[in-house]
Amino acid sequence: MKMEEMSLSGLDNSKLEAIAQEIYADLVEDSCLGFCFEVHRAVKCGYFFLDDTDPDSMKDFEIVDQPGLDIFGQVFNQWKSKECVCPNCSRSIAASRFAPHLEKCLGMGRNSSRIANRRIANSNNMNKSESDQEDNDDINDNDWSYGSEKKGLWYLPFQNPNSPRRSKSLKHKNGKWGWSNGNYNNSTGISYETLGPEELRSLLTTVRGDLSSYPSLPCLPTRSLRCPQHTDEQRRTVRIYFLGPSAVLPEVESSLDNDSFDMTDSQALISRLQWDGSSDLSPSDSGSSKTSENQGWGLGTNSSESRKTKKKKSHLSLVGTASSLGSNKKKKPKPPAPPTPSIYDDIN
């Protein structure tokens, strides 16, 4: 075979066409064979008839071509106009607004708690000068920080007798400033803890007319043993009421002396205390001023045990800072630190 003879150009068109036809036939047959093999495999594997469905189910999923409906036959805005009844408030709410309404209505969900907190904060800000702070305390648990700051550390909120915090807080305060209810118990038989707020209110308002602004306050000063809102006359009255006419009253001179600078002292006390200053004074100073003030309350009449505890506790108190003023002044009319036991001796 020579190469020239093999040249295609030598062939006429019919020949070329014939060849083309042959090639085409080959291609078609290849396709058919391939198809046959696929079908045969499907038959033998069992998936050949899988895409056949019965005419009944075919009808179910027929494509819908009507106006206003989608191809599944569903209406577009079907749930927009429907109204649901809220199980909580029994109101009729639009379906698209139902979920958010329920969230607020039941008080669950993030936003509803945020809104509630904001409302509480707003109502707190609005109530500036309330007479019954203790009610707010029950509602909001921010009495210690908020209330005390507002009142300049002079206000000790008196809580619900049933709340677990109450006894704890009072005892805590007692420990700090030697103001123990136990003393009251021993001396007077009256315990502020057991008295309900109503009883206390009546008790204190009858005795001390100045307590009208804080009716249920037993007047427990937070930082100092001398409450600036009441005069000594009032204190004496209460003392007599609680302790009886036979109660041992403090010595007139010392109490008077205390009174003379106690008012100014208390003013300084307030300013000093609000600084939260450190106690840079000797404990004995605080002790002396303390005991004198205790004396003013007539607590010195109690047992020696309570005395000792008071002494210890008074050392720890912050009042030491403020009492420096008092102690400086008091040193003139009174003997210096060591007389702490002597004062008690006097009382006895």
Partner: protein, 101 residues
């Protein structure tokens, strides 16, 4: 030496086929009907015909030969003219390009 025309033709065809494979044109040409035939529904028609044949013969007893014998002639006839024409055109083009072997 007398070279029979038939022989020549056969050789010619063989040579051309070889050329087709070598250049990869054959694969390209094969791809064309695969896509086109499915698109035009040729495969769908053939499939329904297959189903008839299978139902006739019985699902279990169908063999490849049966299928081939039944389907191939039908398939060849069902090819739409447009596809046929396009295919032939491509083959002629190829032949013209490779006129000189």
């Amino acid at each position: 030496l007398v070279v029979s025309k038939m022989n020549k033709d056969a050789q010619m065809t063989a040579a051309i086929n070889q050329k087709l494979i070598e250049t990869g044109e054959r694969e390209c040409l094969k791809e064309l009907p695969r896509a086109k035939l499915t698109e035009c529904g040729w495969k769908g028609q053939l499939k329904s015909h297959c189903k008839e044949v299978i139902k006739e013969k019985g699902l279990e007893h169908v063999t490849v030969d049966d299928l081939v014998a039944e389907i191939t002639p039908k398939g060849r006839g069902l090819v739409p003219d447009s596809v046929k024409k396009e295919l032939l055109q491509r083959i002629r083009t190829f032949l013209a390009q490779h006129a000189s072997l």
